[in-house]
């Protein structure tokens, strides 16, 4: 009998029989002629949407179409941070919903994605920054989210080896969300894929959508490299490629595609427990369970579809790292990579119907898509199944820029490279 459910018992059983009884995590499905829902994009958001459609909304005749391999986009190119330390009422409940889903994810999908709530600490370096974090922390608390404002001494006792004494911008304290942390990014894609597959969802890899069949303002399916696939509803979760995909349906989006680089060092014995963000430079860091320091900074700052960045930002990010953590000077950078971010015009996402009947959009995740994966899937599934927004995603309207209802956490306006 093959081992299908993951547990310590099945692992021990398979250890005794040479791991021979495991089944593929998901079937290599071929497309059926028609589905109730076709989701375009087999990344975290698309797979999570498929899973919640099947699990919570009873829609199981669902396909996920992926042009490459499952998880080949930003779900596998990020710094694995999860948190719900947002400021604005349009965002906090959504990201907190995501955080709660993370907290129960592994038992729900029977896959250990290593959700690790070791804390996210945002450092502040001035009185103004402290007050801005206080405003944010208070907003979180009023939404029922955990938040603590720490002073310099508390930060020092948490991370005594940060640059407390010779800093250009001294550390004056930090905003701590203890429930924040990291999740093993690839495992999220694989876990949702496996769980969706077990509920009957077809995951169709190496198949690219080449067009939409639209008549009288209504969509009837997608053209793909493996032929036409009919669908009553089509959901797009294509992240950095959203503009390219919607262009095939004649839609322009309030989105620009930008490159964000991320970095990992050689594995060293763990010394950074949680996630730390520098408030006076462009730098955030955590340490993986393998020992690599995983860190990132700002966007390169120009539109790009190239999945790679340039040296000035590499230097800028590492300068921030050394300014904050002088002990990492002799640790070595092992790999860098670039992801294409679907930067929206206010830094917040879009989960909405499009002007085309039956075509739904999930995009604009900026650099915050990973932490949103579960809630994005849930809310997108809700929207597709019910034709109305989920209550925690009501603000994520496509037309909010037209009406002036932006959700702009950073206050940078219509300049995506600054969000």
């Amino acid at each position: 009998m093959p081992s299908d459910h993951y547990s310590i018992f099945s692992v021990l059983l398979e250890a005794l029989r040479g791991q021979s009884g495991w089944r593929p995590a998901w079937r290599k499905a071929s497309p059926k002629p028609a589905y109730d829902v076709v989701l375009v994009g087999g990344g975290g958001h698309g797979l999570a949407t498929a899973y919640y459609l099947a699990k919570r909304y009873g829609l199981k005749n669902v396909a996920v179409i992926e042009k490459g391999w499952v998880g080949s986009g930003n779900i596998g190119r990020n710094t694995t941070i999860v948190r719900s330390n947002y400021l604005l009422p349009g965002n906090v409940p959504f990201y907190e919903t995501s955080m709660k889903l993370w907290e129960g994810l592994e038992q729900d999908i029977n896959y250990n994605a290593m959700v690790s709530q070791r804390g996210v600490l945002n450092l502040y370096h001035s009185d103004g920054q402290r007050d801005a974090y206080a405003r944010r922390g208070n907003a979180m608390r009023m939404h029922g989210v955990d938040a603590e404002l720490l002073d310099a001494e508390s930060v020092r006792s948490m991370y005594p080896w940060l640059n407390h004494d010779d800093a250009r911008f001294p550390i004056k304290g930090g905003l701590l969300q203890k429930r924040g942390g990291t999740v093993r990014h690839d495992a999220v894609a694989w876990g949702y894929a496996r769980a969706a597959d077990r509920l009957g969802v077809d995951i169709i890899e190496n198949t690219e959508v080449t067009g939409f069949r639209i008549a009288d303002g209504r969509i009837s399916g997608v053209e793909t490299t493996r032929g036409f696939i009919a669908a009553k509803k089509v959901g797009l979760a294509c992240a950095g490629n959203s503009s390219r995909v919607t262009a095939m349906a004649g839609l322009n989006l309030p989105i620009e595609s930008h490159v964000l680089q991320a970095f990992v060092t050689e594995g060293i014995k763990p010394f950074i427990d949680g996630v730390v963000t520098f408030g006076a430079g462009h730098f955030y860091i955590s340490q993986s369970d393998k020992g690599g320091l995983v860190f990132g900074g700002d966007l390169d700052g120009y539109n790009s579809y190239a999945q790679r960045g340039n040296l000035p930002v590499v230097e800028d990010v590492v300068e921030g790292g050394m300014a904050l953590m002088p002990r990492i000077g002799r640790v070595r950078l092992l790999r860098s990579w670039g992801g294409i971010m679907d930067m929206s015009m206010d830094g917040s996402p879009i989960i909405d119907q499009t002007p085309i009947n039956g075509l739904y959009l999930n995009a604009g995740w900026c650099y915050g898509g990973f932490k949103a994966t579960p809630a994005s899937g849930l809310c997108f599934a809700h929207l597709i199944a019910k034709n109305e927004p989920h209550e925690v995603a009501r603000g994520y309207r496509l037309d909010r820029f037209r009406t002036g209802h932006m959700i702009d956490e950073k206050g940078m306006g219509n300049q995506p490279n600054l969000h």
Binding site: S7, M114, D131, M142, E266, V331
Partner: protein, 994 residues
């Protein structure tokens, strides 16, 4: 066995025997020579066991002789200079070197964590995805701490890195990366044409494989020939040679990142020297000549110390003069590997057996092996290495399937070569598979890049020389030089046939693909069984290729095993994308000098030195350092000083350096028209000699900045911005001028740094100012009323500007002199104001007075608020277009119910206010649904004797006098406050007009 260099060969090698070095490994002292690596010096002393693997803690030795080594990682140096995971194969030996093995407890030889090896049936690839889930709370408490204790290899230093790092730029016509046969020829060909050449190599001696092989070129040994070529290059003025320099990444526009290890071969850097230097090399053309990486063969226990790549064995013999063993079994799939028997024999190493996976060896090699008395196994394999912490023998399966056991202490392995073409794919170039060499070679190359020699799939010495010459000439031509083909030196030729062979599937023991991450052939098979069949899935699921060797020794083997399992060809299976860096780069080098206090430059105000002498406390304001307050002796509490400064201004006169404000000259006949389009209010109607407060929006209708515009002539305005937006506003004005309205006659000249500007405020400000400006300028209220501006002279003939502006609510001026006279102005204000009790004040007092007066600042103009929100809605002209007008009329921004700025004071006048508190109605639950706004700016108001604040409140206008809660749970605050006017002093504005 150790300490005596008993494996050092007397006649081989390029090490300098006149310079013996002493070093220690795991606390035991040994000897080596200048020119050794740590690896060669350890081998000279018979030491093969140097490390433990990541997961199973298996004993590991020295597999390679270069930067691709997956096993021989040590902690180099101690204390603040500790360098974890340093490859012994790349560490240049120096006297006094200290290294330690890592990832073992309690010792390298007895590592208790090796128990993991016995649990390996459980610890298969991806096992942790399947377990550790119950109960959920145990992950952070139990499972993960356990996993994290085992994570990582070496340890980072506990203290800050004491060494310095440098950054440098280089520009050249041709960059040649790698200095082997192809690289040297390419550099010679390009340099002789006159092109500016940079030649970089990761090793401390230029020459690449020429130093490691026993070959001849033009009748000389290959090492001698390399020396001659390097000598020619170093004599040319148009050539820069960078040894100890790894070019780690290709970036856009012909930019390359490289790191030079300036001082890593010393116990510590010489005085004034950096440890490493980051080079940004801009090259018109680049030749990638980084050679090739030899592949191990995947067989049982192929990770045992004493299993070594054939090319490495030759390097240790020929370059370092070290015998890597006494008795060797050679296991190969190709001529290059099999030929190693010559080098082994020359070093006096017994060749016990030559095992070749091919059914027939070339005759010459076979004859030579016979002459050496080696047993020959054509079509055979080594199925397993025997021994644990050192190889003791090889288990061989011959072509008929019979098993033989042969004793040896060295198994020399070659599975063929993979060209080092990583850099050709950094910019999106594609690789292609070549069956004849069983490897990926550069396919589509980025513009202005070529590959040469082994990196290009040319493996014989003769072809490397010729390929390098060709690539060098064509690169120089591509850079615009008239490059003639150069003569290619003659070399002996060698057989170089390769048979694709990857994996001995009849192994009895674990067969490793990725040594460092302990990924076995069985793990690859498991990943395939579970559907992780894309190469990226294989990599991510098993961690194959993610170790510090960047997959150089494991990538193609893993791919080949996966391809066989899926029934696809290797090129169909694909290749993972190489990304920078080529080899790991220290973070210190990437950061350079930008750390500690030098992380960002300091901008100092004109009064900085003077203020410092006054004992001012400074604060970082962006890049600026500004005076925060000026404590007097015995003032221990900042608030005491600040209150004194505020009172000093309000009751007498004070001055404050406001030079950090952005300053912009706006000139031209259309200057007024231009400013009308960028400010929400009218500026063209401003009379000459007057200033006006103004606000700018972003095009999306949100407040961008506020400041003043002064008009000195019909066609000459002077505009100020807030400190924080100085650069942004100039950029915006330039966009408006150059892109939106190029037809307007207007010029924009930023002049923030040109003027030292001081606010002089207080009821006695006029007296003080009258002593500063030159006669006969009249500063009386009649001659120079509120909002007047003038160009004049001050301090006895200095060019100056005077503005009657006030942000404190007092009678006030701003006076500007050229920046270089700023300190003089500060000193003079002090001297001339002594009898008036003049008070220098800092940004704290400045902030207190602006809040008391209800002026909005950075906390209010925060990128999400409109002019209406901050109380400036009425300023917007309805008669004209301006940037941001149209989009500010969107319903969401024009909504009258948006929170508006208003003032607050605590009901209990002794209570303190804190910015960041949220407002909720007096009797409401403090939940998000009841959120009414937030407090933005607070100050203790000396004028009122209690705290005051500004903040945004929903429906503010109708709530004057209402009591609301200022709820601040993150600081334990919950204060009742009264909604009041935002102006807390002189609400009629009488004082500033006197």
């Amino acid at each position: 066995m150790s300490g005596d260099q008993s494996f050092r060969l007397s006649k081989h090698g390029l090490v300098d025997r006149s310079r013996p070095f002493r070093f220690s490994f795991d606390g035991v002292e040994h000897d080596g020579y200048a020119g050794d690596t740590l690896a060669s010096a350890l081998l000279a002393n018979g030491i093969h066991l140097v490390g433990r693997s990541f997961k199973y803690h298996r004993p590991r030795g020295i597999l390679t002789s270069g930067s691709e080594d997956p096993n021989a990682l040590v902690e180099l140096r101690t204390g603040a200079r500790r360098e974890p995971n340093t490859k012994a194969t790349t560490i240049e030996l120096y006297d006094g070197l200290e290294a330690k093995s890592q990832n073992r407890f309690p010792s390298l030889r007895l590592d208790l964590m090796a128990v993991n090896g016995f649990l390996s049936p459980v610890f298969s690839a991806g096992f942790y995805y399947k377990t550790f889930m119950w109960p959920a709370a145990f992950w952070e408490k139990l499972y993960e701490p356990m996993i994290r204790r085992a994570a990582g290899l070496g340890s980072a230093a506990m203290e800050g890195d004491p060494d310095t790092y440098d950054k440098a730029n280089a520009f050249c016509d041709v960059l040649v990366v790698g200095s082997g046969a192809a690289g040297l020829m390419a550099a010679l060909a390009a340099a002789r044409s006159g092109a500016r050449v940079v030649l970089a190599d990761e090793s401390f001696t230029l020459g690449g494989r020429l130093l490691a092989e026993n070959r001849s070129i033009d009748g000389k040994s290959s090492a001698e020939w390399a020396k001659t070529a390097v000598a020619e290059l170093s004599a040319l003025p148009n050539v820069r040679l960078l040894s100890r320099t790894t070019v780690f990444g290709a970036y856009d526009g012909g930019t390359f990142g490289a790191v030079e290890r300036v001082s890593d071969h010393m116990i510590q850097p010489a005085a004034g020297q950096p440890r490493q230097r980051l080079w940004r090399i801009v090259a018109k053309q680049v030749v990638v000549a980084q050679g090739a990486t030899e592949r191990p063969i995947v067989f049982g226990n192929n990770d045992r110390p004493g299993v070594m790549l054939a090319s490495a064995a030759r390097t240790y013999i020929n370059r370092y003069g070290v015998a890597p063993g006494r008795t060797a079994v050679v296991f190969t799939s190709n001529d290059d590997g099999a030929s190693t028997i010559n080098d082994l024999a020359s070093a006096g190493i017994t060749v016990a057996a030559l095992v070749d996976t091919r059914s027939a060896l070339p005759e010459a090699i076979e004859a030579r092996a016979e002459a050496l008395g080696a047993r020959i196994f054509e079509g055979g394999v080594v199925s397993d290495a025997l021994g644990r912490s050192r190889v003791t023998g090889a288990r061989i399966i011959d072509a008929s399937g019979a098993v033989h056991t042969i004793s040896c202490d060295l198994i020399v392995v070659s599975g063929g070569f993979s060209p080092n073409m990583q850099m050709t794919t950094h910019l999106g170039g594609r690789s292609q598979w070549r069956d004849d060499i069983a490897g990926f070679v550069p396919g589509t190359l980025p513009k202005n890049m070529s590959a040469a020699g082994a990196a290009n799939g040319s493996f014989s010495l003769a072809s490397c020389l010729a390929d390098g010459a060709r690539a060098g000439s064509s690169a120089a031509s591509g850079a615009g030089f008239d490059a003639k083909p150069i003569a290619v030196p003659s070399s002996d030729d060698e057989p170089s046939s390769v048979a694709a062979f990857w994996h001995v599937d009849r192994a009895k023991h674990k067969a490793f693909v990725d040594f460092q991450n302990d990924v076995t052939a069985a793990d690859v098979a498991l990943a395939e069984r579970e559907g992780y069949r894309s190469v990226e899935h294989l990599k991510r699921y098993t961690t194959l290729g993610m170790a510090t060797d960047q997959g150089r020794t494991s990538g193609v083997n893993g791919l080949a095993i996966l391809a066989k399992l899926t029934g696809k060809s290797i090129p169909e299976t694909g290749i993972t994308t190489a990304r920078p860096p080529y080899t790991p780069v220290s973070l210190g080098a990437l950061a350079g000098e930008h750390r500690g206090k030098h992380f960002k430059p300091f901008r100092l105000t004109p009064s900085h030195n003077w203020a410092k002498a006054q004992g001012a406390v400074f604060v970082e304001a962006g890049l600026w350092l500004r005076s925060l307050y000026f404590p007097k002796p015995f003032e221990n509490d900042p608030l005491t000083s600040i209150i004194r400064e505020v009172n000093g201004v309000r009751n007498g006169v004070g001055f404050c350096d406001v030079s950090t404000l952005g300053k912009v000259e706006v000139h031209g006949t259309d200057a007024g028209k231009f400013l009308d389009r960028v400010y929400i209010n009218m500026m063209s109607t401003l009379p000459v000699g007057k200033a006006r407060y103004g606000a700018m929006l972003r095009e999306d209708g949100i407040m961008m900045d506020d400041g003043t515009a002064a008009r000195f002539a019909e066609d000459r305005y002077f505009v100020t911005t807030t400190t924080v937006n100085a650069i942004k506003v100039v950029q915006h004005l330039e966009l408006c001028k150059q892109w939106h309205w190029p037809d307007l006659d207007v010029q924009i000249v930023p002049s923030t740094d040109q003027w030292a500007q001081y606010s002089v405020a207080g009821p006695r400000a006029r007296e003080l100012i009258s002593r500063i400006v030159d006669k006969p300028f009249d500063v009386s209220n009649e001659a120079f009323p509120y909002m007047a501006v003038a160009e004049l002279t001050a301090l006895g003939g200095l060019k100056a500007r005077l503005y009657r502006l006030s942000f404190s609510g007092e009678l006030a001026y701003e006076i500007a002199v050229p920046a270089r006279h700023g300190e003089l102005l500060a000193r003079t204000l002090m001297e001339k104001g002594a009898d008036l009790g003049v008070t220098p004040y800092g940004t704290e007092a400045l902030g207190v007075m602006r809040i008391e007066k209800g002026h909005v600042g950075g906390p209010e103009i925060n990128g999400t608020t409109t002019a209406g929100d901050v109380g400036l809605g009425k300023m917007a002209s309805k008669k004209k277009d301006f940037i941001g007008r149209t989009l500010s009329e969107r319903s969401g921004l024009a909504d009258p119910n948006r929170p508006r700025i208003v003032g607050f004071r605590p009901v209990d006048r002794a209570a303190r206010l804190r910015a960041g508190a949220h407002f909720v109605n007096r009797d409401a639950e403090p939940t998000a649904a009841n959120d009414q706004g937030y407090l933005t700016s607070v100050a203790y108001s000396p004028s009122n004797g209690h705290w005051v604040g500004l903040g945004f409140l929903a429906n503010a206008e109708s709530r004057m006098g209402e009591i609301v809660r200022a709820y601040d749970p993150v600081r334990g605050g919950d204060t009742l406050v009264e909604v009041v006017s935002p102006v807390f002093v002189d609400s009629e504005g009488a004082r500033l007009r006197v």
